[in-house]
């Protein structure tokens, strides 16, 4: 994150240029996940088998930049004498700006390609934790729906 105070128009331009540079670098890193090499690992030799891992890769990110300018605030009566003694900057506008961004990537194993004496086989990788969580969530939602409907039906019958 970059912040500038009392930024002149030239400084603001350089700030935006810097933001653009950082943004294009970040976008390059995000788009690197689009290469097939990001999905398939390097072949690994294990006994008489050669194994290649295959994974699903998801990545994303975003960035933004902003700046603003305005007149300098008038000195208050309660300010220190040194502030009062300072020359007025009412004619000189002050401003600030900044840029930032964020992103993330996720990879999940999907299968293992095995090249061996029996030929080429694709063995799936099952994420048991993910499936158990999905099953629990689905059954909890179904049970809740059934209970709610039974309650409504009972209320209507009464």
């Amino acid at each position: 994150m970059t912040d500038s105070r009392d930024a002149s128009p030239g400084e603001s331009d350089s700030l935006l240029d810097g933001a653009g540079e950082q943004a294009s670098k970040m976008l390059e890193r995000i788009l690197a996940a689009a290469q097939p090499g990001a999905v398939f690992g390097q072949p690994v030799q294990s006994g008489s088998y050669t194994l290649i891992t295959a994974a699903e890769v998801t990545s994303g990110g975003g960035f933004g930049a902003g700046m603003g300018r305005g007149p300098a605030p008038k000195p208050d009566a309660g300010q220190s004498p040194s502030a009062e003694a300072a020359p007025t900057t009412a004619e000189q506008p002050i401003g600030g700006g900044g840029y930032g961004g964020g992103g993330g990537a996720m990879s999940r194993p999907v299968a293992i390609v095995a090249i061996g004496p029996n030929g080429v086989t694709v063995r799936p990788v099952v994420d048991v934790t993910k499936l158990a969580l999905a099953a629990l969530t689905a059954s909890a939602a179904m049970l809740r729906l059934r209970r709610t409907m039974r309650r409504v039906r009972k209320a209507r019958a009464d």
Partner: protein
């Protein structure tokens, strides 16, 4: 105005082929790329391997079992919810 093809695009690509004992395996992947003015998104997943042996090419699909099971569970939950709602509506209608 940017066209939809500039913003989002899907393509299938091949990774570096691997040759072991005369068998050439070429992994294939499908990529979805979304380019936004202030960011981007990439979804890359394996689809198949092309096996070339003795001059013949065979395609072995890579199935994401976890995703298929997840979608199955979601479908089952939606079906159950739909059936329950239909049953409740039927009992509401006076004879």
């Amino acid at each position: 105005m940017r066209s939809l093809m500039d913003i989002a695009g899907a393509r299938e690509a091949s990774a570096e082929p691997v040759t072991v004992d005369g068998v050439t395996v070429t992994p294939r992947s499908r990529t979805l790329v979304v380019r936004l003015p202030k960011g981007g998104f990439v979804w890359n997943r394996p689809t198949a391997v092309l096996v070339e042996q003795d001059g013949r090419v065979r395609r072995i699909p890579i199935i994401d079992v976890t995703r298929v099971a997840q979608m199955g569970l979601l479908g089952l939950a939606l079906l159950t919810a739909g059936a329950s709602l239909r049953r409740a509506r039927r009992t509401e209608v006076p004879a």
